[in-house]
């Protein structure tokens, strides 16, 4: 497929009221006007599915807890996405499971290339003004990587 035929949707996820979780919202704000369909989700999970309209590429921007130092930028292709274990309450369905479900139910609407741009967070139990400095500093880098992925100038 030629680059011109690719269509990308960027979905930014996060609660803008919670310290490091707000990172998805900040990325969303700074990406305004980018060369892709841009969407924001307060929470991820299964609500992601109706947003996908057959784009070839999906970029998900979110705060993550994968054990790296705070502010670490993870750029993970689909096959490196962490699986979420069965939980007592599955309210927080993971990205990987969501896409797997989408591939079974709505195969035509699912993107072929999926990238997670995750910023490692540390603080998820305080309000917005307590965003970890390293996380705040990583927002521009995350936006830059997404713009690179979109083929724009970083």
């Amino acid at each position: 497929m030629r680059a011109a035929d690719r269509r990308t949707i960027v979905v930014c996820i996060g609660n803008e009221l919670i310290a490091d979780d707000a990172v998805g919202f900040e990325i969303y704000r700074r990406l305004a006007g980018c060369r892709a369909r841009l969407e924001f989700c307060g929470v991820g999970g299964i609500d992601l599915l109706p947003l996908l309209q057959g784009e070839t590429d999906l970029i998900v921007a979110d705060a993550v807890e994968l054990g790296a130092p705070p502010g670490h930028l993870h750029v993970l292709p689909w096959d490196c996405l962490p699986a979420t274990a069965t939980a007592i309450s599955a309210h927080g369905l993971g990205l990987r499971e969501t896409i797997e479900i989408g591939r079974i139910l709505y195969p035509d609407a699912m993107p072929e290339r999926i990238t997670l741009v995750g910023v490692e967070g540390r603080c998820f139990n305080r309000t917005r003004e307590f965003m970890t400095p390293e996380v705040a500093d990583a927002i521009d880098a995350a936006v830059g990587r997404i713009r690179e992925l979109l083929g724009e100038q970083a």
Partner: protein, 470 residues
């Protein structure tokens, strides 16, 4: 020897569940329970804020039941200001809420509890998850997700936003219906109604199959308790009405307006969990349940044709009052049917076209209001000063009220799966299932990607003998 349970604040916030099972030296059960933290921080955050922001701020407590907080807060403010929202506003709030119920229950039935029913309690957890349920029956999953989307769209059109609605305010609602929106919503509701003949037998079939595979669910897994729900005009109601408590036998013991809740519902601190548990006090202390099944135990009529017929079926299978944990799923189905029918009624009620807002001022005082959240009664109680600033806030959420019953279910699971049985996998499944029937909301604070494990600590005479993690 003193038992020590370590609760790491970060893991609590992330939605980890910690369960303890304490045994005596002879191996018999001393006690068992779920350790959890929820919501308490929010009561402090609200202090010092303008009261009229409460419906917007409190809806952010939760991404799962934001509309329940949005409307409980609106009701509390109406009470504080001494106004009654106009009939059209109440109808539109209710319509928003019915959308929310359809959305929340379809997720809960098919996604949260579905895996247990579809794949069976003993299935490998690697497949006993949402992906597994979708694989097992993609057609049903597609329909269930469509129903969920319809609920979300109704909620969004009236509420102004998809996940955290904004239109309900003190004194009414800022949304005004027009013919075009009425037509669109009518189409959605008709589509939802058309899905019922597929959904209803499918869910019932799954439940019956689960009971066939695990007959003990219909006998041992009963937790008799009092039930609390909201009634209005001799029917179940969700955002308006009086609270009614029935005892284990279904006898009506108490009915009260929500502002009197603190006379009967008493919060107590337990030393092993951040969540306060709530008991009902009336001639002694009673454990009680809230939620879909409790609402049906408290009031046996919905006032719509299909829901009332389905409730008949429900009582035939589950008895009255129903105390079978596993029947929560069926109760949610009955409420989903009702929510669709009730949306239809509201959309065709001429009163929906009236005035939607009255002016409001806060002269200082208390604001108490409630809603029946998908998981049960939700109460907001604010002290508001004469400048309209919140000075104190108390929130009672469903999971707190179900806490005693949840812990009793964990004990039942422990009794049937721990005592003399070394099978960790079966224990984890049983404990998980018993808790999940109450659909507790443990993971409100963050959705960040990562694992959400469960940890069970088993002690014998205060020594840790086993810690199981998933």
């Amino acid at each position: 020897m003193k038992r020590t349970i370590r609760i790491d604040p970060v893991t609590r916030i992330e939605g980890h569940a910690k369960i303890f099972i304490n045994l005596e030296e002879d191996g018999s059960l001393r006690n068992a329970g779920l350790v959890v933290n929820e919501l308490r921080g929010f009561e402090k955050i609200l202090i010092g804020m303008e009261a009229d922001r409460m419906p917007h701020i409190t809806s952010r407590i939760c991404g799962v039941c934001p509309t329940a907080h949005h409307l409980a807060a609106s009701n509390a403010l109406d009470y504080a200001a001494g106004v009654k929202a106009p009939p059209a506003a109440m109808l539109l709030r209710e319509l928003m809420y019915m959308g929310h119920i359809i959305h929340s229950h379809s997720l809960s039935i098919f996604v949260l509890q579905g895996p247990d029913l579809v794949l069976g309690l003993d299935a490998d957890p690697a497949v006993r998850n949402v992906v597994g349920i979708v694989q097992a029956n993609p057609e049903l999953a597609r329909i269930a997700l469509r129903l969920r989307t319809i609920g979300q769209k109704l909620n969004e059109m009236v509420g102004g936003r998809g996940t955290h609605p904004v239109t309900s305010v003190a004194g009414g609602i800022t949304f005004v219906l027009d013919r075009e929106k009425q037509r669109i919503m009518q189409e959605w509701v008709s589509e939802a109604r058309a899905l019922l003949p597929v959904i209803t037998p499918a869910v019932k079939g799954l439940l019956l199959k689960a009971l066939e595979l695990h007959p003990s669910m219909a006998s041992d897994w009963a937790t008799p308790s009092w039930s609390l729900g909201t009634v209005l005009n001799d029917r179940v109601s969700l955002i308006e009405g009086r609270l009614r408590a029935v005892d284990e036998t279904g006898a009506v013991r108490l009915e009260f307006p929500v502002e009197d809740y603190d006379r009967y519902l008493v919060e107590t601190v337990v030393d092993w969990s951040y969540m306060k548990k709530v008991h009902l006090h009336l001639d002694g202390e009673h454990e009680y349940r809230v939620g879909p099944m409790a609402r049906m135990n408290a009031m046996r009529r919905f006032g719509t044709e299909l829901a009332d017929a389905e409730y008949e079926e429900f009582s035939k299978l589950g008895g009255y009052p129903c105390h079978l944990t596993v029947f929560q799923t069926y109760a949610k189905l009955v409420e989903t049917i009702w929510a669709i029918e009730r949306s239809d009624q509201i959309l065709n009620d001429p009163a929906i076209w009236g005035e939607t807002r009255v002016p409001v001022t806060f002269k200082g005082g208390r604001g108490v209001g409630h809603s029946e959240a998908p998981r049960g009664t939700l109460i907001h109680d604010y002290q508001i000063d004469e400048q309209g600033i919140v000075r104190a806030a108390n929130l009672i959420v469903a999971t707190q009220q179900n806490y005693a019953i949840i812990n009793r279910s964990v004990e039942q699971a422990a009794l049937s799966h721990v005592i003399g049985k070394p099978d960790d996998q079966a224990l984890l499944n049983a404990v998980e299932f018993s808790i999940r029937c109450y659909d507790p909301c443990l993971s409100c604070a963050t959705h960040a990607l990562g694992r959400m494990p469960m940890e069970i600590e088993i002690t014998r005479s205060d020594r840790t003998v086993r810690t199981i993690r998933r």
